[in-house]
Subunit: 321 residues, 2 copies
């Protein structure tokens, strides 16, 4: 049996719990969530689907957990896969998620995360630990939810990426789309907040930090060494629409440089027509020329798909059963 | 050593031979083309890169081959992978390629093909033989060259496809793009022929048979049973442009029905901006909503990428070395 411990049971964790339960049989895997640890919802063993309404409402469901205790609970768990779904923390460079992940790996557990922080700030250490302890490390959900992004390169062996260019943040793309339709920045932001696309503090999106972290993660997968410090990152806070051009917040990287900034796209470019909170990525490849992928970049089931993709990849690669 | 026999050494075969030689070391595979069989170019053993200029010019390079002998050569070969790159034959429902492929499978060889005929007309038999003889069967190159199409579903375990909709033929898309720019059908077709996108007899493209075969192949991968006989297939021969709408030749299928016909797309749809000889496919998925992939659908290195993708997939799955 594949025993899964979920750390962080917000929208993503709940979505994955639901999707795994719904698709387990057709995927032919004997995978069960045996433990859930969440700061608000507590420590829950052998959860059934009946917990979902209370979990969604944010109620305490199990024994109250002291956050300091979470690494010990991870070490002592007999799960073989830990799914780390806590929130992004920029100031502490991905902590405490980084500690949760490394603790899991050091105790021989495979890890899946949807948290950009640990991956963007500690890529090399995590890869090294994954090798040393022979455990899988999946992080598809950090970029474009379940929509194929960097993992599409698994389907393109031998292809070389010259550069990539993406619309990697749905919130700013929604705001820019509404501004293109005539709304002011403030009205568009308010609408995004009303629709649940933007946080109460939307600065990570608006100022371009979220897409920058995603560009760093894709770059690291490609073997390129970019970091927040080495990148030019310009958001959309003071942007004004002029003329008929379509403005998109573009994250770009090649081997030498990386940036995030608003750019005017050629209306003949399909990327100019990626609207609302959709995401897109264009890879420039030596074998295929331009390959564009357009799809959702966030959402409950959309991100759960990414976790299921990572889980199946670990199941196959490490022969879990 | 992975020994590869190439059957049919036109543009695709030459492109794959070049790409394999260039990328073999970085892919870490000991794969060598040991035999080439081609009706015009003859039977060549242990070919080196020096054959390429003559091969491109269509000259005879090895012992002349009687086409009747090709199945025997396949059976007697000690290659473990046969790459079948002969031309599509609709009238004979994929023959002689179907015979080449089944002969290879029956002698225990893995098979990769870029030929739509055998796959679209004989899918069940080929799957059954692949299981019975425990050999791999790759056919990524039959749909959108190396651009991820049906194989993107490998990255989306558990996702269900409600329908797909594609621009699966580059020739007709090029003609429609030029007509949208003001050319007549005849002038656009002539331009496509001058640029090498359309055959001297372009009827398989113009009349929609080529994209119909591709829609059948994708459908079969999804478990849907469509065939040329059960599909409505309308091409672009008598099309006229009216108004400002963007017309694309769309191949569509869900579980119940499939068709190919020209359709007016909403200009807000990124698919409306897939121009020239590019291809695109949109999958409607329960977990991700709409996923769109845009990329090349033909070409020498673009199709070679598909073959390399299939080869690496077989290498991994069957542990070839």
């Amino acid at each position: 049996m594949i025993k899964i411990m979920i750390v962080g049971f917000g929208n993503v964790g709940q979505g994955f719990f639901e999707l795994l339960n719904a698709r387990r049989d057709e995927l032919g895997i004997d995978a069960v969530v045996t433990e859930i640890v969440d700061r608000r919802r507590g420590f829950i063993r052998n959860p059934g689907p009946e917990i979902l309404p209370d979990a969604r409402a944010g109620r305490q469901l199990g024994v109250k957990v002291d956050p300091e205790d979470i690494p010990r609970l991870i070490t002592e768990s007999d799960a073989n896969v830990v799914c780390e779904f806590t929130d992004l923390n920029i100031r502490d460079k991905g902590e405490p998620a980084f500690t949760y992940i490394t603790t899991a790996m050091r105790s021989g557990k495979h890890v899946i995360t949807t948290n950009k922080g640990p991956v963007a700030f500690h890529y090399d250490e995590l890869m090294e630990l994954s090798r040393r302890y022979n455990v899988g490390f999946g992080f598809k959900g950090t970029v474009m939810a379940g929509t194929p992004s960097f993992n599409v390169l698994e389907l393109l062996p031998g292809a070389h990426v010259e550069y990539f260019q993406g619309i990697l943040n749905g919130t700013t793309n929604f705001i820019l789309t509404k501004m293109h339709e005539g709304l002011s920045f403030n009205d568009a932001l308010r609408l995004a907040q009303e629709m649940g696309y933007a946080e109460a503090d939307p600065s990570l999106d608006i100022d371009g930090v979220d897409p920058a972290l995603k560009a760093i993660i894709i770059s690291r997968v490609l073997g390129w060494r970019h970091s927040l410090d080495s990148m030019e990152v310009v958001g959309i806070r003071n942007i004004e629409m002029a003329g008929n051009g379509v403005v998109k917040l573009i994250a770009y990287a090649d081997e030498k440089r990386a940036f995030v900034k608003p750019m005017v796209l050629d209306p003949a470019d399909p990327m100019a027509h990626v609207n609302g909170n959709l995401n897109a990525i264009k890879f420039k490849l030596d074998t295929l020329g331009s390959l564009i992928i357009i799809g959702p970049g966030a959402g409950r089931v959309e991100t759960a798909q990414a976790v299921l993709t990572d889980l199946m990849s670990i199941v196959r690669r490490y022969g879990l059963r």
